[in-house]
């Protein structure tokens, strides 16, 4: 039986599988349908300093092989999160990665500061939400802004910092290098790709926000490419995500260079997907004579 443990920025996960921010709530909703103890980590919905209302509806649209969302980072704010969601997650034997969002540098730092004393394992900083005007994408599409906010956050953070990158850029490698220079402990990618759908009967945008973030299997090849390019560009570990449906997709991402993988949209179709991904990776390692999951990271020839 191959060793499934990974070490990512100093934190040990029992297996390399987590769930994507925003697709799993804070775990509570899916706890009835899947065994949270089976996950290497749970990554929470984006948490802001105060409650956010998010965008108008419709917020969801279906597209071929995926979906668009424009939730707009609705959330109850960090205080409720600390009171309600951390205690819930602490009941499980899994790492807690808190996804952090903000409209401004100060808002990010406020959340990071509030979490400094809390029992969470890692912070994932969302500088790539395409659905909120000031929701971080300004930081996420410009290398020097990305480097700057990373270094600010690093000064405040008590937990390892994962910077979450946007695919809506000319060069993902440049973005990854920028956050690495800023001191990021890891990167996660990809956030959603900006897309649009128009209802031809009503001639209206399918989403109230006009554009939305595309996720699901349709984005997987882009995600694999970006993980590969990032792995060639930086030395910090990568959490790979984007369209992972099953172990095969996850293994592909790891071969491209991801140390860990994250299941997002597929949760909506198969709530046990992340568990099944972990099982499938383990089987693949055993079938192919690997003794540890780390052996397949970046192992594409």
């Amino acid at each position: 039986m191959a060793d499934m443990k990974i070490n990512i920025a100093g934190v040990e996960w029992k297996n390399p599988v987590t769930v994507c921010s925003g697709t799993f709530g804070s775990g509570m909703e899916y706890s009835e349908l899947t065994d949270i103890n089976r996950l290497g980590a749970v990554t929470t919905k984006g948490i802001a300093s105060v409650p956010w209302e998010g965008n108008e509806t419709p917020r969801i649209a279906e597209v071929c092989g995926g979906m668009l969302n424009a939730i707009g980072l609705q959330g109850p704010g960090v205080d409720v999160f600390i009171e309600r969601d951390i205690p819930f997650l602490k009941k499980y034997d899994t790492k807690i990665v808190v996804n952090v969002c903000g409209h401004s540098e100060d808002e990010y730092l406020e959340v990071v500061d509030r979490l400094a004393g809390e029992d969470v394992d890692m912070l994932e900083i969302n500088i790539s939400c395409p659905n909120v005007k000031e929701g971080g994408i300004a930081f996420g599409q410009n290398p020097s802004s990305a480097e700057h906010i990373t270094s600010l956050i690093k000064k405040h953070a008590k937990q390892p910092v994962i910077m979450k990158l946007s695919p809506n850029v000319t060069s993902i490698a440049d973005m990854a290098k920028a956050v690495e220079s800023g001191g990021a402990d890891a990167v996660s990618l990809i956030n959603t790709i900006t897309g649009m759908k128009i209802d031809i009967r009503t001639r209206r945008f399918a989403l109230a926000n006009k554009t939305g973030g595309m996720s699901g299997p349709a984005v997987h090849p882009v995600a694999v490419r970006m993980v590969y390019e990032t792995a060639q560009a930086v030395n910090i570990p990568i959490i790979g995500m984007g369209g992972i449906r099953n172990a095969e997709d996850a293994i592909e991402m790891m071969l491209a260079g991801a140390t860990a993988v994250s299941v997002g949209t597929e949760n909506f179709v198969n709530p046990k997907a992340a568990e099944e991904v972990a099982d499938g990776i383990e089987r693949y390692l055993d079938d192919n004579g690997f003794s540890s999951v780390s052996e397949i990271v970046g192992a594409v020839k």
């Binding site: 925003g22 697709t23 799993f24 709530g25 909703e29 899916y30 009835e32 349908l33 919905k45 409650p51 956010w52 209302e53 998010g54 509806t57 419709p58 917020r59 969801i60 649209a61 279906e62 071929c64 092989g65 995926g66 979906m67 969302n69 939730i71 609705q74 109850p76 704010g77 409720v80 009967r201 699901g216 299997p217 949209t265 949760n267 909506f268 179709v269 198969n270 709530p271 046990k272």
Partner: protein, 262 residues
């Protein structure tokens, strides 16, 4: 709530574009109550998102769920559903949502409104109320035209009033026109139907001084409260979200008519 493969037992066309499907899904049927829904996953992997469909009827003993749905257009997922045949399997998740709290109705005069494809869940509700209380309530059903569906089944549990948009059956106009026409009153109103109808129901409920509950629709992804895709606006801060928003899939689809903006 369970994610399961359900076997299609029966498919039938009830009216132009309106279909019924009976599924064998014992665990889900056992838990079901009126006003809840199930997510249907299509056998077309390009279309990942579930189709939320209300539970029109359920039989916990036989393990059967009954769904009634409208085909929304050419090339739609519901059109694909309508081509499926008995013996085929469908992935479903459910029962989802809160459903109607029939216990509230124990000692009330109840008036039910169902409009269009909002009619099916009200059949399950009428049946539950009848089972609980042993007496018929008033039900107003609004159709587009004389292509009625389910209407006869309601008669076993309710006094049925009908409106049609084109006047080809019952009262010409809305369900409210029909209710006014019949002078219906109550102290508990329960309704499901399109937005404009629900707004009409809200005024009518106010007018007759009743409490009201309505069932809402919104685009969904997860169906379990995790993605925050399906929120509706609320008149007060919601306990879970801490903003003036509630999740239709989890906190609803049935809401106190005063708690939601229609």
């Amino acid at each position: 709530m369970i994610k399961t493969k359900a076997k299609i037992l029966d498919c039938e066309k009830l009216a132009e574009g309106v279909f019924e499907m009976k599924l064998f899904a014992p665990e889900a049927a056992k838990e079901a109550r009126a006003g809840q829904f199930v997510n249907i996953y299509l056998p077309d992997k390009t279309r990942m998102l579930p189709r939320p469909i209300s539970i029109c009827g359920y039989d916990g003993e036989e393990g059967i769920l009954r769904l009634v749905y409208r085909v929304t257009g050419k090339g739609s997922g519901t059109e694909l559903l309508s081509t499926l045949k008995p013996e085929e399997n469908l992935d479903i998740l459910g029962p989802l949502g809160n459903g109607y709290d029939v216990s509230l109705a124990a000692d009330k005069e109840v008036l039910i409104f169902g409009g269009g494809i909002g009619i099916p869940p009200m059949l399950g509700l009428a049946k539950s109320l009848y089972a609980l209380r042993g007496k018929k309530c008033d039900v107003v059903l609004g159709y587009r035209n004389s292509e009625l569906f389910l209407e006869n089944e309601f008669r076993a549990y309710a006094n049925v009033h009908i409106s049609t948009d084109d006047g080809s059956f019952g009262v010409k106009g809305t369900v409210i026109d029909a209710a006014k026409d019949a002078g219906l009153t109550a102290n508990l109103v329960m309704a499901c139907g399109p937005g404009p109808m629900l707004r009409g129901v809200k005024s009518y409920t106010k007018e007759i001084g009743a409490k009201g509950f309505v069932s809402l629709e919104e685009r969904m992804a997860c169906g379990v409260g995790a993605c925050l895709g399906c929120v509706c606006k609320t008149t007060a801060v919601d306990e879970h979200s801490h903003v003036k928003n509630a999740r239709v899939c989890k906190d609803g689809p049935v809401f106190d008519i005063d708690f939601v903006e229609l």
